[in-house]
Symmetry: C2
Subunit: 419 residues, 2 copies
């Protein structure tokens, strides 16, 4: 029997009506001949309520007990979804993490999958059950305590089940109808992609596209699980949404698939830093310890050699989320006081945004960067920092030009047209 | 290490402040040198919310899924209680039913205990944990599904743990401060009992006293678990509340310990029923099948022998809760149509109440019934039905005299005085 994994997020199961709506979609796949594993999140708001209680009770909470409390929202949805399916005469059974079992590491609140043995669910399918409803986001530690996977863990649960059960596809039902070339609120020319490669989706997810959690895309890529993102709130069929898949499944790919952006960036420059081996480690180790997520890094090539700085010196610039600027400043000032780094000045620019173009086609096409910089130059947008990967080019620009830059790049790479 | 079981009901853990208050009481017992097993209910209202969702989803719900959903409220409280104790520097760990494990039968929503192996909790106590917080009301079926014990099951969980772990005592914290000779709202002379025998408590519970669930008292009696009922909302010490215990622990017992009453009773009389072997079964079997909880039964001794009824005939009277009268009428009319019973008339009296006196002292004292009937006669209260057990006498009277009857009996047996 072919098998599908279908995942419904918190807004898709927010109340009994929405659970019924989701169950209808499951029933349709059963009627098409699939066995289905349904992964459910907690009803929206429930997990936040539980987290709030834990944090109020114990600010430095024991992660074991946090996991025991916070995982309970998914259990409720799993049972209600199984009941709803039964009412529609679809034989269904709910499964909590320990019942499957979903074996994970003991890293509470951030556990990773170890194994998902198939025996228990396979037996139920063999008995005639058509649907297994599994509580997402949770697992079982080696010592028998409940674990959770961290926020967004239900997407990852879905992909892990699709891999373990060799599912034909893993359908992620959410509140948007697919992955777009860029945010439709920025340009009406934004187009829904029919397909996107794992690597591209990974870049978009890490650039802030909230459609899929980064870890779930990584896992899908590793096990080659075909992921489909589609809307819970529309009538959907087998061609709906966006398929995230291996690039071999994408026949004709454009050079650039999408334009991503991140509004809340900050740029920090350390002026006149000693240029010596180990200086990068001396700067970035305290930032990491201080909880600063450094994104782009640029070291100026221009050397300075002033009278009062007889050695070789340089400027070091990096970017981070705007709400981490204070932490970054503190980490740098502490390191300067401790004598592990020296700098003349620390300049913070909190009026920047990041804009990126992403596409696997870049690998085989030269000139993407040139075309990108030309498009920005034509709009008189100054580029402050550049960083590139194999399939991505990101630039930091003044925030006030962000929308304009996205629109200009969307036009320049003709993303409104299909390949 | 001596061990205590402490159980907190829904109102005692209704919010984070109350959980903290309950945790203080646990901490005090730990400081006195006890290991403690804490049994918690769901925060009040939570279980009703979950039951509502299940019933809305599926009116004829699958009890397995009902149990999976409804048990989650206790899991939340158990985790929050463990966190609260940790904040107070009491080493504590939460336990869900499957983790202990609490092995039960597979009767979902009404499961019964099979066994509670001690190994897992004993190991944690040996590691230095002082408190095990166990989610009440739930267990694990032989096939690995979650069960629940039915309403009030947390009391029963507490007693079962006290029996399995040979606890010194099982303290049931609730919203009243003990067991009274009668409801203080009926007479201000009502007095809190220091001790009451299991058998008496059992009669009072089955007569509608809501302090303890009948099943928990049965279990306590069978395993001789000393139960103490006391208030969550007052400062309590080792002499607080009421101890429910073996009658041997009660030195000087009064003849009557308490007066119970039940307001919502109805009396049904079948007039001119054929008096033959098997007639009782023919009447009460369809009532039981129809879900009618028959309480008192009286068969008139007076025989009738009319012309049109050549055989021996009688009248049959029984009582049941007032909200089951329609069911009872339907069961009787169906049986008459089916020809399994005959009667001339069915008379319903919905203006009755039941008043009972309970006391183990009755066994060794004659004249309790006479004293009871005399007290009622002195107030001109007519007795409609009488039923007795070894330690209880119940009468059905007009509802308007109920309060008066309770007051008169409380006075007649001098319950305001200690033994």
């Amino acid at each position: 029997m072919p098998l599908l994994v279908m995942k419904f997020g918190g807004t898709s199961v927010a109340d009994l009506d929405r659970i019924r709506n989701a169950a209808q979609k499951v029933k349709r796949e059963v009627e098409r001949g699939y066995d289905v594993i349904v992964i459910v999140s907690a009803m929206s708001g429930k997990t936040n309520e539980l987290v709030g209680w834990v944090e109020q009770t114990s600010p430095l909470f024991d992660a074991r007990e946090y996991d025991a409390v916070v995982s309970s929202g998914e259990n409720v949805t799993a049972g209600l979804m199984a009941l709803t399916l039964q009412e529609m005469e679809v034989p269904a059974r709910s499964w909590q993490g320990w019942q499957v079992p979903i074996n994970t590491t003991a890293q509470h609140s951030a556990a990773r999958f170890e194994s998902i043995p198939r025996a228990n669910l396979d037996q139920k399918f063999a008995e005639g059950f058509k649907v297994a409803v599994v509580a997402g986001f949770q697992g079982l530690a080696p010592d028998g305590r409940i674990t959770t996977l961290g926020r967004g863990g239900s997407d990852t649960t879905a992909v892990a089940f699709a891999a373990a059960f060799e599912a034909e596809r893993c359908d992620i039902y959410t509140d948007v109808d697919g992955v777009y070339t860029t945010d439709p609120r920025i340009t009406s020319k934004a187009r829904k992609l029919e397909r996107i490669a794992f690597e591209e989706m990974l870049e978009l997810a890490s650039l802030g596209a909230k459609v899929l959690q980064t870890r779930s895309v990584e896992l899908a890529m590793r096990y080659n699980v075909r992921l489909r993102v589609l809307s819970s709130f529309e009538d959907t069929d087998e061609t709906s949404g966006t398929l995230v898949c291996d690039e071999e499944e994408i026949m004709e790919s454009k050079v650039v698939s999408g334009v991503a952006f991140s509004r809340d960036e900050a740029k920090i420059t350390l002026v006149t830093v000693e240029d010596r081996p180990g200086i990068s480690a001396a700067i970035f180790a305290p930032l990491a310890e201080g909880g600063v997520n450094v994104d782009m890094i640029v070291q100026n090539i221009s050397e300075k050699d002033y009278e009062d700085h007889p050695g070789s010196v340089t400027d070091m610039t990096f970017s981070c989320p705007i709400n981490q600027v204070e932490r970054a400043k503190k980490a740098m000032e502490d390191a300067r006081r401790a004598g592990t780094i020296q700098y003349e000045e620390l300049i913070v620019d909190t009026d920047v945004a990041k804009v990126s173009v992403v596409g696997i086609g870049m690998r085989s096409h030269a000139g993407v960067a040139a075309r990108m910089f030309r498009a920005l130059a034509d709009e008189n947008i100054n580029i402050k920092v550049i960083s590139t990967s194999e399939i991505k080019i990101s630039v930091l620009i003044d925030r006030k030009y962000m929308e304009l830059a996205v629109q200009a790049l969307h036009d320049a790479f003709e993303l409104e047209k299909t390949a």
